[in-house]
Amino acid sequence: MCEFVGCQSSCIPFSKMSFLEYKDVIQSGDTAIVFLGHDSMFAIKVQQGGATQTKYGAIKHSTDLIGKKYGSKITCSKGGWVYILHPTPELWTVTLPHRTQILYSTDISMIIMMLELKPGSIVCESGTGSGSLSHAIIRTIAPTGQLYTVEFHKQRAEKAEEEFHEHKVDHLVTVKTQDVCKEGFGVTNIADAVFLDIPSPWEAVRYAKSALKIEGGRICSFSPCIEQVQRTCLAMTEQGFNDISTFEILLRVYDVRTVSLQLPDFGTGDKNSQDTPADDVSQSKRKRYADSQQGTIQFKSGVPLREMAGHTGYLTFATKYLS
């Protein structure tokens, strides 16, 4: 285990950063995702001697996990089995412990692309919240970028820092405990992009501007209410931001199903009946239907889920150009 900074002795050589780089074999200290089913997975920290309970029984880390390959099927003590997956920011987002409301991957994807993030980008974020977006940003800007994240809630900031350390990404992120609306991001003219997810983003827009590089950069603000968007857009215009655009992105998930619908019974017991109109088209159609089993038609369909997220928040993007 490598709980202490600087401890090398018990580390397996070439141990790598699991959130930043794929590796094949599970090691002690890794965060891994236990997959029980589509809507049922959770994250664990793999530890020598550790154990995890699932509804299929216990998983013993030392014997069941360490040294096994990611993606393996793990048999639990009661005979049931689970899959053990390599962590990704997307899996982390659906398994992380919530300390706040979080951003989900649909919005996150859009934020990362529209902020033009890539390896080497310098990004400012506030608030850190539960670190859902932070992990996705870090993944994208590694190995040479840097994230400056500001969270005014001391406990949350500390918890986030702990997680970054545990996930071995702390060298790419700086957490500051301060109020972004009063003190800004604590950095000037170094950021390629700024992201705001706070109740009053308009109060932080001027700090966002000063955090961005002289040659310019991108900004995004996430707000659930249109009034917040309204005020933020005004503040952005006042601060000289350009190309201000507001979007809403909605995810529609489809259940893939084979559906069968029953054919109507017209009471045509006698197939040679002369009563029905008998033009060629209807005859051939009737023949096709007659072939299908027991008077039903089967087809594959993508059925929308019964409920979907109708609204998460508005995303407002803008550019600061070279002034």
């Binding site: 790598k16 780089e21 794929y22 899959y83 920011p89 991957s105 190995p143 040479t144 995810l251 993508g302």
Partner: protein, 503 residues
């Protein structure tokens, strides 16, 4: 593998990269990455319209019904806004001090505004004459306002709208930007959606995220989206890791990827592999095929020289283009040879060298092909991205063989139905979990004081994606044609649940 050593040099090496010999002097004078140089791939922006071009001196550019030369832009920083003046010269826009003065007078409603077609006192000829005098767009707009009899009666909002509309028409401000995935995706979606299988930018964003594309990955990309998806993946890799581009036909088409203007080093680990050699690779007969392969590449090369990529560009670029081709092979010696050869070709001299050039090109291609095959045969790819006009299911089933366990994959399709089949086929094959078929809707908003509402039109469809994660296949059992008991139980339970919720 994280190639830290070579990778860290990327930003420095970047600049000279793909610009060819012509640009090197300019680069030497302006070492900054943020300055427009000859040979750079840039994006022109006017309002919300983008166009990707390569910077050349004395080359006429036509954009949004205007023509101009980019000569004056060279040496300016990216993000600079220019105004087109007489003769197509670009002048950096001055600070926005001379804004059009807004009149204080405004009407309350439009009850007295009658459309008689005579509210504008300037005729079309008058306006043309003003333009001919070389009057600035701003001044023309001012004249139009002064000569509009109804302007003062319009409401404040419609005055603003009027000015905005006229400004758009007469004021031509062009901003020069660096290409990014965002801009390229928006540009292609707007201008040529057919070329990118109607892949909307938010869908592309989903693909990159759910594919967990990041520095150090080894990604397999199948795409016929003009290279847009490939370019976006390469941008996210940032020069670390590798990509195998699987393509149908004889040559990969990558016009959009070239527009990204990646540094030369990004091409070191870009491999390409023709889909029609996939069967032989899967059956292990690939290397034995070398002989026939050579013959085929001969033909391919012939076609390659006439590919749309080379013909689109002028003769002057041919040299740089060839350099780029060779960069992909990562062969530095070959670069000089090829460059020389192209020059020879331009002077129409010496057939012999032509033959030799062909031979060396052919060998290069063969080497590249073998390298790509070797990369695939490791069967440890970190991800798979498919976005093509081909029927996706067979592609997916074959290519998953090359992906390591516990890795994400994403398939894009413009239509939902082929992905339904994919889903069913994957279920039958096994070796995957967490399958999800989804679509995103993107709604734009107009946000203005007291006039905020969703945009009047939105894109009707940006395609569908199927995502999932690979797992280790059960090699002992007959290759997962029968559902596992647990899975079967779960499926049953789920079906029960669904039926319950429906009834």
């Amino acid at each position: 593998m994280l190639e830290n050593g070579s990778g860290l040099n990327v930003p420095n090496r970047g600049e000279e990269g793909d610009k060819g010999a012509a640009a090197t002097s300019a680069v030497a004078n302006a070492p900054s990455l943020d300055t427009v140089c000859e040979g750079h791939h840039v994006v022109l922006k006017r309002d919300d319209v983008f166009k990707a071009v390569q910077v050349h001196r004395k080359r006429k550019i036509i954009f949004e019904k205007q023509w101009f030369y980019l000569d004056n832009a060279i040496g300016h920083k990216y993000g600079t806004t220019f105004e087109v003046s007489i003769g197509g010269a670009l002048q950096p826009r001055k600070a926005k001090s001379e804004e059009i003065e807004e009149p204080n007078e405004a009407g309350v409603d439009n009850r007295n505004i009658i459309d008689d077609g005579k509210s504008q006192r300037l005729s079309r000829d008058d306006i043309e004459a003003l333009k001919g005098q070389g009057l600035k767009g701003q001044d023309i707009v001012q004249r139009l306002i002064e000569n509009s009899t109804t302007f003062r009666d319009k409401t404040e909002f419609s005055q603003e709208k009027y000015i905005k509309k006229k400004k758009k028409k007469y004021e031509a401000f062009i901003t020069i930007l660096k290409p990014t995935a965002r801009i390229m995706a928006m540009m292609y979606h707007c201008r040529e959606p057919g070329k990118i299988c109607h892949l909307r930018y938010d869908t592309l964003a989903q693909m990159l995220a759910f594919g967990n594309i990041h520095a150090g990955c080894k990604v397999i990309v199948v795409e016929t989206c003009a290279g847009l998806v490939l370019g976006s993946v390469m941008e996210r890799l940032g020069g670390y890791g590798s990509v195998v581009h699987m393509y149908p036909g004889s040559m990969p088409i990558r016009a959009a990827m070239e527009n990204f203007g990646f540094p030369k080093s990004f091409y070191d680990h870009l491999y390409d592999f023709p889909i029609n050699k996939l069967n032989s690779l899967l059956s292990g007969k690939f290397s034995a095929e070398n002989e026939t392969l050579q013959n085929q590449t001969k033909v391919e090369l012939g076609e390659g020289n006439r590919s749309p990529l080379s013909t689109q560009q002028g003769d002057g670029v041919l040299c740089a283009k060839t350099v780029m081709d060779n960069n992909q092979a990562g062969e530095t010696e070959a670069k000089d040879v090829a460059c020389e050869d192209t020059e020879n070709k331009e002077t129409n001299a010496d057939r012999k060298s032509n033959v030799e050039e062909r031979k060396s090109k052919q060998e290069d291609r063969l080497k590249k092909l073998q390298a790509a095959a070797a990369v695939l045969q490791e069967r440890n790819a970190d991800g798979l991205i498919i976005a093509s006009r081909l029927y996706p299911s067979p592609l997916l089933l074959s290519l998953l063989e090359f992906v390591a366990p516990s890795r994400p994959f994403v398939i894009y399709c413009q239509y939902k139905e082929p992905l339904l089949t994919c889903y069913a086929d994957l279920r039958e094959r096994g070796g995957v979990i967490n399958l999800r078929l989804s679509e995103t809707w993107l709604r734009g908003y107009q946000v203005l004081p007291n006039r905020t509402h969703p945009k009047l039109t939105m894109s009707g469809g940006g395609g569908y994606i199927l995502t999932g994660i690979t797992i280790a296949m059960d090699r002992d059992k007959s290759v997962a044609s029968i559902p596992e008991p647990q899975e079967f139980e779960e499926a049953l339970a789920k079906r029960q649940k669904v039926e319950d919720s429906i009834s």
